[in-house]
């Protein structure tokens, strides 16, 4: 898995810094993600990996440095930011499906309201996406009627409906019961195979091995290692990573 798809960086973070009060959560982060690349971000909790993921579509503001998507620097607020966000799909730990909308409406709302797609076309696309993630028959239900795994797959379909350039996953399986984790990971592996650019914050090492082009290891707000999964899991260089991996294996 060492083959990198050639091309310029689709997502580029340069010297990104952020504080939460006294806590320096992101310290001089530099990260380039090319088109078609799957980057898995791992690290102990509190290492800043979720913050990093959320900063990429400006759900978290940053204090220093720049983040650019496909060559465009993230705008501060307003219309340009909304437009840029439409190009960046986001999948949350807690799914965040719109609780008052049906599964189908959850997926069609963005295309219809943000992109101005006609309802019939949006419905057709949405049904195809829902079928693809295996929840087509749930279309008329409300989110609360679905299992966590199903909800998360709908959330992936909702993000894909905007035809994003890159997909961000913020611990997508952390809130799921163990038996539902695989159904979500399978969808993500499939997506990775199809060439989607993905940044995935996760604790699923199996996914990292299987689907990642690069593993980024974060600790204390810094990127400590940036390597292929093979390299990272068999021969971690830093003590911090060795320590982290050893703790994973003992349980």
């Amino acid at each position: 898995m060492t083959t990198h798809v050639p091309g310029d960086a689709l997502v580029s973070l340069n010297a990104v810094n952020k504080h939460y009060g006294q806590l320096h959560v992101l310290k001089d982060i530099n990260l380039q993600v090319r088109k078609g690349e799957v980057v898995v971000v791992i690290g102990p909790s509190g290492s800043g990996k979720s913050t990093l993921c959320r900063a990429i579509n400006r759900l978290e503001t940053i204090e220093g440095g720049t983040i650019s998507i496909d060559g465009k620097v993230l705008p501060e607020e307003g219309k340009e930011l909304a437009q840029l966000r439409a190009d960046v799909g986001m999948v949350f730990q807690s799914f965040n499906l719109f609780a008052h909308k049906t599964i189908l409406e959850n997926v069609t709302l963005g295309p219809i309201k943000v992109k101005g797609v006609a309802k019939a076309a949006a419905d057709k696309d949405a049904m195809a996406l829902l079928e693809r993630v295996g929840v087509g028959h749930q279309a008329p239900k409300l989110p609360a009627q679905l299992s966590g795994g199903q909800q998360q797959r709908v959330a992936i379909a909702r993000a894909l409906a905007m035809k994003p350039k890159v997909m961000l996953f913020d611990e997508p399986t952390s809130a799921l019961d163990p038996e539902m984790i695989n159904e979500v990971l399978d969808v993500m592996v499939q997506l990775a195979k199809e060439g989607m650019t993905m940044i995935v914050v996760t604790h699923e090492m199996g996914f990292a091995r299987k689907a990642a082009d690069r593993v980024v290891f974060m600790a204390d707000g810094q990127i400590v290692e940036d390597a292929t999964p093979e390299e990272f899991f068999t021969n971690p260089k830093s003590d911090r990573a060795k320590d982290f991996l050893s703790k994973l294996l003992t349980h």
């Binding site: 759900l59 909304a82 965040n96 719109f98 943000v114 609360a144």
Partner: protein, 216 residues
Amino acid sequence: MDVILENLPLYWNGFLRTLFLSAVSGVIALVLGTLLAAARVSPVAALRGFSTVYVEVLRNTPLTIAFFFAAIVLPRLGVKFEQFEVAAIIALSTYTAAFIAEAVRSGVNSVPVGQAEAARSIGMNFGQVLNLIILPQALRTVIPPLINILIALVKNSSVAGAFFVLELFGYGRQLANANGDAVIPVLLGVAFFYLLLTVPLGILASTVERKVAIAR
């Protein structure tokens, strides 16, 4: 009780005036209050500041002051109106809007923050997030306090009677003056007609509350 039956047309007239005052002020207050709540949660600091000051000033001063401003101060500032009803509607709606803004704001805060984040992440702007995602979900928690505020509005409209507006309470006072021997029945009649407005509101509240319930 004869005094009520004999003056039924007068009561009915007062009832309709109160209904009119409450309905018009209620609609204006709902719109204004929702806008104020939106301003309160908006990303623009100036809007947030304006909304906060407005709500704090209006809800922490007596309604009578609002009436004095609308009926006496506004005309001196050059805002003229033909009827005192207009002043009453201005006072009632601006005053009630402050309470509605607070109720709507608490409803907005009751919607999990992830809903807004998900909406923003698919490219929605502030207005879309609020109108399509947050407010429809906030409605459920907001209905009961909102109806309470509207019930208070119906009763508050009686203050207009002191400012030359003839509504239910104003007519009641006239009747009481004219029928010194039957003050208690007259006032019971007034109370009855107020209940005719407020009790259905309460019933409406519980019906709507059940209908808009959202499972989570």
